[in-house]
């Protein structure tokens, strides 16, 4: 357990609060939030420094690792690192080929980025829950003279809905862009209004338009939300269970944390894979013309 004075619920709440930098609504000053309450009051004009920092750092690990291999890629016998990177690339490539039936040079690199990046962010979940936050608290207290209860540090970016929704909304807007580009504005609007209910009678068709628009609109908007929240929810739940296990007495923790961590390895890879596949599927739908 982290700080001795905390109760269980305080400990959990502390662990679920981000290190937030934002505009304090009471005096309009940009500063680091000292309590979860304050962080919440900051509203939209705030940024989670821990989520952003970890996600960008992990993204850099991804591009440095893969960029290094890409720069030194040999057509001869590959070394160990290149070999493992090639396995990932071929895995993504075959998945994209299976799911995406059009030509777009953006899709495969985007799927690769999403898969590896999300995988790396999910992997942070396997780092014991107090490890890095405790280090952060130590640094905060000793170098910045902060109250230990005011040091918030979450290390799993995918347990932050901003991160997952940021990616799924990017995919959503990209899908909208490609839909309009490939089907035209008319085609896109037609897709939203003339399906799934259709009729040969023009009047009935007109009557059906709002119903179709409602149904298609809901399914359109549900895609990015479910896409982002699925990843967030799985990882958030996993993180939550790790935090709950951390509340147990020290000698009993391993009996639950080890099985959960082993099981969570599956969740981590699976969720990264699902996120990547859904992204490719949505992109494929945005490119499909005619057969609707």
């Amino acid at each position: 357990m982290a700080a001795g004075a905390q109760t269980g619920s305080e400990y959990i709440k502390h662990h679920l609060t981000n290190w937030t930098f934002g505009k304090d609504p009471s005096d309009g000053v940009w500063k680091i939030a000292e309590t979860a309450q304050q962080a919440q009051e900051m509203g939209f004009y705030a940024i989670h420094l821990d989520s952003m920092g970890w996600s960008v750092a992990l993204g850099f690990i991804f591009i440095l690792l893969f960029g290094l291999v890409g720069r030194k890629a040999t057509t001869g016998v590959p070394g160990g690192l290149q070999n493992s990177i090639e396995i990932v690339i071929e895995f993504i490539d075959s998945n994209v080929r299976d799911t995406f039936s059009h030509t777009n040079k953006l899709i495969a690199p985007m799927a690769l980025t999403a898969f590896v990046w999300v995988l790396l962010m999910n992997l942070m979940d396997l780092v014991p829950v107090d490890f890095i936050p405790q280090i952060a608290t130590y640094i905060g207290v000793h170098f910045f003279a902060m109250d230990p209860h005011h040091v918030y540090f979450k290390i799993v970016p995918t347990t932050d809905p901003n991160v997952t929704m940021g990616m799924s909304l990017s995919v959503f807007f990209l899908a909208l862009f490609y839909s309009i580009k490939n089907k035209g504005v008319g085609g896109f609007v037609g897709e939203l209004t003339l399906h799934p209910f259709t009729s040969k009678n023009l009047l009935i068709k007109l009557i059906l338009i709002p119903i179709n628009l409602f149904l298609e609109g809901v399914s359109l908007l549900a895609k990015p939300i479910s896409h982002g929240l699925r990843l967030f929810g799985n990882l958030y739940a996993g993180e939550m269970i790790f935090i709950l296990i951390a509340l147990l007495p020290l000698y009993a923790q391993w009996t639950l944390s080890v099985p959960w961590a082993i099981f969570h390895i599956l969740v981590i890879v699976l969720q990264a894979f699902i996120f990547m596949v859904l992204m490719v599927v949505y992109m494929n739908m945005a490119h499909d013309t005619g057969d609707h």
């Binding site: 939209f44 705030a46 993204g59 991804f62 591009i63 720069r71 057509t75 001869g76 990046w117």
Partner: protein, 156 residues
């Protein structure tokens, strides 16, 4: 669980990472994979070609070998024939030479015997005459008896 600017920050960094991946990661690695695939396919087809060439060469070698064998046989049989020819010729020459030599020797022998006969004749006649002379010295006129002896000589 507050929705805030992190959302946009994440979207921006996602875009940057995707751009980087599209520019510097995906193309070199996939092209390397593609080239390696091509290289391996080329190698395999080259190996197949080599095998075919080897097969052809084997057949070639076999035919050349049998050709050479038959040629060698020819040469040997020709050499054998030539050998027997030479032997025959030598035999003929040798027999000719021997018969010639024999003839010469025969002639010589004949001549010698003739000469011997002549000289023997003379010696015998002389001896006869002498003997007769010794026997008949007092009774027979030499001239008359010479004539008789001469007749005898011619008769011998």
């Amino acid at each position: 669980m507050n929705i805030n600017l992190t959302l946009i920050g994440q979207a921006i960094s996602f875009a940057i990472f995707v751009w980087f991946c599209m520019k510097f990661v995906w193309p070199p690695i996939t092209s390397a994979l593609e080239q390696r695939k091509k290289k391996i396919a080329d190698g395999l087809s080259a190996a197949e070609l080599g095998e075919q060439a080897l097969e052809k060469a084997k057949i070639d070698v076999d035919s050349k070998l049998s050709e050479a064998k038959s040629e060698a046989k020819n040469i040997i049989s020709m050499a054998e024939k030539r050998q027997s020819d030479i032997l025959d010729e030598a035999n003929v020459k040798a027999s000719e030479e021997t018969s010639k030599k024999l003839k010469l020797a025969e002639q010589e022998v004949e001549q010698l015997s003739m000469r011997l006969k002549e000289s023997l004749k003379k010696d015998v006649s002389k001896l006869v005459v002498e003997g007769a002379e010794m026997i008949l010295k007092k009774e027979i006129d030499k001239s008359v008896h010479d004539k008789a002896i001469q007749d005898l000589v011619t008769k011998i």
